[in-house]
Amino acid sequence: MSSDGPTPAERFLRGILPENPVLRQVLGICPTLAVTNTMEGAVTMTGAVLFVLTCANVLVSLIRPLLKPHLRILVFTLTIATFVTIADRLLAAFLYDMSRQLGPYIPLIIVNCIIIARCEICASKQPVRTALMDALGQSLGFGLALCALASVREILGFGTWFGKWLGWRVLPVGLSERVWAPWTVMILPPGAFIALALLLGAVNWATARARARKEA
């Protein structure tokens, strides 16, 4: 049971790019779009997902002999909900501003498809070590996609990068409106949709090109 499929290290690497949850599997779009107008939001969300996914994967992997097929999904969801409650309370205690800013999107991790998909595909069939590496890889892939999107949106929208925590300005303050006006639309919902569409397009294009080059 444990020997089939890729090794833990391979699973870890696969989660980052070849099977990236957002860019390749198009899962978990809701938080990807909602929290990426600042880098802080993206990093906090990645941290929360990393915590929840790792804990849920490990726990589900530990209890996998006890799982009944018809109650599987309910057990996954309740496990995830417990860890999300812990993550939510931790954020409210230590990062109150981010907890306020992310608002309902932290509890919405419960219904994030990525975590349920990983529990179902990997953790309920694999030993703990594999499940752990898989969770870490998938979370890093998720974080990579979020940070890519948030960088574009924050730089174009506010002209900053980690503006609230570190105060880095990418575009100088006194820049004339004629040279560069901040793209307010990138902070608003439409910017999120369009930026993610272009990012997906770019990834698909790069993949197709790499494949064509390999075949040639």
Partner: protein
């Protein structure tokens, strides 16, 4: 402001201005996954509206009577267990667990009910019904109701009663249905278009969603202006307020 206009404002703002998909980004997975044909999109939208109403009813009841700090049922049990205590019981930390359980239960219930009494509808909904358990719209509406019932006592000046919670839920569901049906209509036409290869599938769908979101931005501020209009034109009070307690907008 009269009861009727408060309700109307709540309905418009949850369905159009703060549209689930285009403003809060919730329900994006079915929005991209199931929006290939109009009839499927309509079925999904209808199923979500139905389940969200049931879930909103259940979650409001549980929040109001059990989960909220100082809720009547919990307080009664608390007093019975340890009479001399003066602390208010607070179960709101359990809300995520309870909501997801309620949603899963409601989806099961709706599925069994439809399978028994409307077999043709059950066949039409197909796999969507179980999938709704993990639909963000439902949980989001439950969380929004909790926010307005008040996680902290006194934090909400005018807590939502059941009527407002239900109106919010129905209109949120209808807003989701509107979004997904519009999207499906556009995607049916898109079958005939020459889309650049890398953008095929989710890419072009998201791009169109972006343009639609831009259109929905046009509704921003409509609620404030409507509220002003309602107040100045002074709708005849008591049309609906005679039976329901008049509510005061903040």
């Amino acid at each position: 402001m009269s009861y009727l206009s408060t309700v109307l404002l709540l309905a418009i703002s949850s369905a159009l201005i703060n549209n689930m998909v285009f403003h809060f980004f919730v329900g994006c997975c079915p929005f991209i996954g199931v929006s290939r044909r109009v009839d499927m999109a309509f079925g999904m939208g209808a199923a979500v509206t139905f389940v969200v109403t049931v879930a909103a009813f259940l979650s409001w009841t549980i929040t109001w009577f059990v989960l909220a700090p100082g809720a009547p049922l919990t307080t009664a049990v608390w007093r019975w267990l340890r009479p001399p205590s003066s602390a208010t019981p607070d179960l709101s930390i359990l809300c995520y667990l309870v909501y997801i359980f309620v949603i899963a239960w409601a989806v099961q219930l709706v599925e069994m009910y439809i399978r028994k009494f409307f077999p043709s509808l059950y066949k039409a909904f197909g796999v969507f019904l179980p999938l709704i358990t993990t639909n963000c719209v439902i949980l989001f509406v439950c969380l929004e109701i909790m926010k307005h019932v008040g996680p902290i006592p006194g934090s909400v000046p005018d807590p939502w009663r059941l009527d407002k919670a239900l109106i919010y839920a129905v209109c949120a569901g209808l807003g989701f249905m509107l979004a997904i049906v519009v999207m499906a209509g556009l995607r049916e036409e898109l079958e005939l278009c020459d889309v650049p290869a890398p953008l095929k599938g989710p890419g072009i769908t998201l791009a169109i969603a972006g343009i639609l979101a831009l259109a929905f931005l046009g509704f921003t501020g409509m609620d404030a202006n409507l509220a002003k209009r309602f107040q100045s034109s002074a709708l005849p009070e008591g049309v609906a307020a005679s039976t329901n307690p008049p509510t005061h907008a903040p």
